[in-house]
């Protein structure tokens, strides 16, 4: 063993060793995932981004050089590729030369070689950069990354334009509460709670837009479903008839996300035993008032309780064979001022929530598009139009009927892998108590 220059031969990924011939010299590199020392032989399992490969060390000098070299040390191994049906992948490397690429690693805070991570959530989160190395944990993010890809690809094909809108905004609009304040060159600014106002305005430019990026909520609640910063997948499109066009689009996007997860993260799906969502061609839709009736709630309830959402999820699965259900028509009083009312009964709205396996995943709907309607809506709520002046002026300059939706990436991934807590699928979560690592 030496700690000098790495091998001249190119490195081969674990997953590609089956393209090499047994008996050939090969070079692999990665982390020492597991080390097992028997009487006459030491097994090193090396982990790279594609998988695991077993290395068999018998030579005394090499073994001596490995003294004190613990798990997670980064190393490069040159040796002979040898068939072994009982090794991971069907191969192992024999007669190895081992080069340390770094100094020996400290003992990891969690045992990454165990099939399942055995650490409490706080320990996992405190050591996120290391615990994400666990193959099962890492697989969760692979689902998230494939989801982002599927979201964008689907919308690209439908003529959408990607946008990047500012996260530093001048007013604490939209909801008022739950906004982070920033010291912006000595005056207050705020972190955007959503790209809502900007994506609407850009419908005036591109007709169809999407954005994937961070949004910020100063959530004072410590729940398993809320984060202070999360990834929102937003879409907005113009020239719609009503919110049903938005639900149709959402259906296409969900199909595209699932297809991408299947194609690009197939190994993660298998490893985590993920049951991919059952999505009918068209998303089933139920009106809010019918939903209340269905779950036996009083017909003047302004919102759905978690138990109601679960019951509706079960109903959608039973009745429509669907893991998703759109509930349309939420009461106007519970929706933001830009929401388009239901034309034949303005107590209700042309907005919807999408339940995924009985939990809210998406909020969307048709928005107002007439300037005069905006002024009226704000007046009816006793709000001044002044803080919204820039946003409102766009509507005075001609905006088509439009609508859109926002999907929370972490909620989607959590539901896919049946994680109780969105923090389990967030790379470095932020909440009321946590700002590190």
């Amino acid at each position: 063993m030496s700690s000098v220059a790495p091998a001249a031969r190119p490195r081969i990924l674990a997953s590609r060793l089956d393209r090499c011939r047994p008996g050939e010299p090969v070079v692999v590199a990665g982390w020492l995932h597991r080390r097992r020392t028997l009487a006459s032989v030491t097994f090193l399992v090396v982990r790279d981004r594609s998988g695991l490969i077993q290395v068999v060390v018998k030579d005394h000098e090499t073994l001596a050089g490995l003294a004190g070299v613990g798990e997670e040390t980064v190393l490069e191994v040159t040796g002979t590729l040898t068939q072994n049906p009982s090794a991971p992948g069907g191969f192992e490397i024999t007669d190895p030369t081992v080069v340390l690429l770094t100094e020996p690693a400290r003992t990891p805070p969690v045992e990454l070689w165990r099939p399942r991570l055995q650490a409490s959530l706080p320990v996992q989160l405190d050591h996120a950069a290391v615990t994400w190395r666990h193959p099962a944990q890492r697989a969760r993010w692979e689902l998230a990354a494939a989801t982002l890809h599927g979201f964008r690809t689907t919308l690209d094909e439908l003529g959408f334009t990607e946008i990047q809108t500012p996260k530093l905004v001048p007013t604490a609009t939209e909801s008022g509460a739950g906004v982070f304040e920033v010291d912006y060159f000595g005056r207050p600014a705020y972190l955007a709670q959503s790209p809502q106002f900007y994506k609407q305005q850009l419908v005036g430019v591109f007709e169809r837009v999407y954005e994937t990026g961070p949004v910020f909520r100063a959530e004072p609640h410590d729940t398993v479903r809320h984060l202070a910063e999360y990834v929102s997948m937003d879409a907005e499109l113009g020239f719609i008839r009503d919110h049903h066009d938005v639900i149709d689009l959402l259906g296409q996007v969900l199909h595209g996300m699932v297809a991408s997860v299947r194609e690009r993260a197939g190994a993660a799906v298998t490893r985590l035993d993920v049951e991919l969502p059952r999505l009918p061609d068209a998303i089933p839709v139920i009106h809010f008032s019918d939903a209340l009736r269905l779950v036996g709630a009083p017909d003047d309830e302004p919102d759905l309780a978690p138990a109601h959402e679960r019951a509706l999820g079960e109903w959608a699965l039973e009745k429509h064979g669907s893991d998703v259900l759109a509930v349309e028509g939420y009461p106007m009083t519970k929706r933001p001022f830009y929401t388009h009312p239901q034309p034949d009964d303005p107590r209700w709205s042309n907005s919807f929530d999408l339940l995924f396996r009985g939990l809210e995943l998406v909020t969307g709907g048709q928005r107002l598009h007439r300037y005069s309607d905006y002024l009226g809506a704000l007046e009816a709520r006793g709000e001044s139009p002044e803080p919204y002046a820039d946003y409102l002026s766009t509507f005075a300059h001609g905006m088509p009927p439009h609508g859109g939706f926002a999907i929370g990436l972490e909620r989607w991934t959590a539901r896919l892998v049946q994680a109780e807590n969105v923090r389990e699928v967030t790379l470095f979560p932020r909440d009321l108590h946590r700002l590190t690592p």
Copy 2:
């Protein structure tokens, strides 16, 4: 004319009218881009996301209904598709029925129908949501969107994993100055100046990562090249030999970005007469010390002046037929503590800047990967390791040799279209003076 229900027939985009048969009834929808009233006929030019279509109105009743309907009003037109070689696209719509989809629009703050926007930059920025509707302005963002697509696609194909890292961070690290402070549930947090620390840590998980997203700099300087918030395209990869592997990757990414711009934004390239960058197969590289000599600067200059960068850009074009040039080896004193020194002469670094047509576009390089080297680097700078504890611990748990780079989207787009000011290619720019719209 009426302002009742829209047409039953599906809407056709301007760019697809050539697939319809002349004489057929068609429906188009969009913004009233231009209205020209002659003695016996009025021409309406309708703009949709794909292009322009001319509508010929002769009928008195329709004309009467259009009284007071100004440019940017959103409307839907049903009529007969008619060939007219002198109309945009070779077609026009005759015998139209016009439905207003909104109330008549206010007179726009800029004349969007003119071939070139004739408004000062402050006026453009104050009315960004409207001025971006100008076809030439809009084309600029199309280049940016195609660039983002090319960046991601290239890295996806090379086995990179997309990441989303927190923008709310606990310490004002990395540069110290120029950080925005946030009131985070009553204690201070900061907006991330880059995903640098997180992308490095995630190399430990995925080996190869990228992120596209906002970064924040409290820039006290009011220049044409600085924004308080911009879009950074970041990549980082492990198991490199040195920074030349990073420059090789950057070359592939730049080729991918240009290919995507050509394929996905070809119309914008043509409209704006964009000269796509000349990129040789391998990016030419010059050492910082040789660069100083070449431009005739004293050999103890710690940095390149703008005039030097321009001269180097010209040299690269003349000598290598290249619009880009990597300058490697910047003095360690001018680079952040995580920079890997040049092994044979630690005054210099294994880092680089990429000049694009004589202006800095990318900063990148090899990073330190040994825990002990990090402690040494901080000590040498008289800095405490304490604020970096979480970041540093990742290196104690095994990190491979690695490096990466960051490309500023706005600088890239500005250089492509020869915009003097990055604000001209930013959807809603943020700077020392501007937090709106």
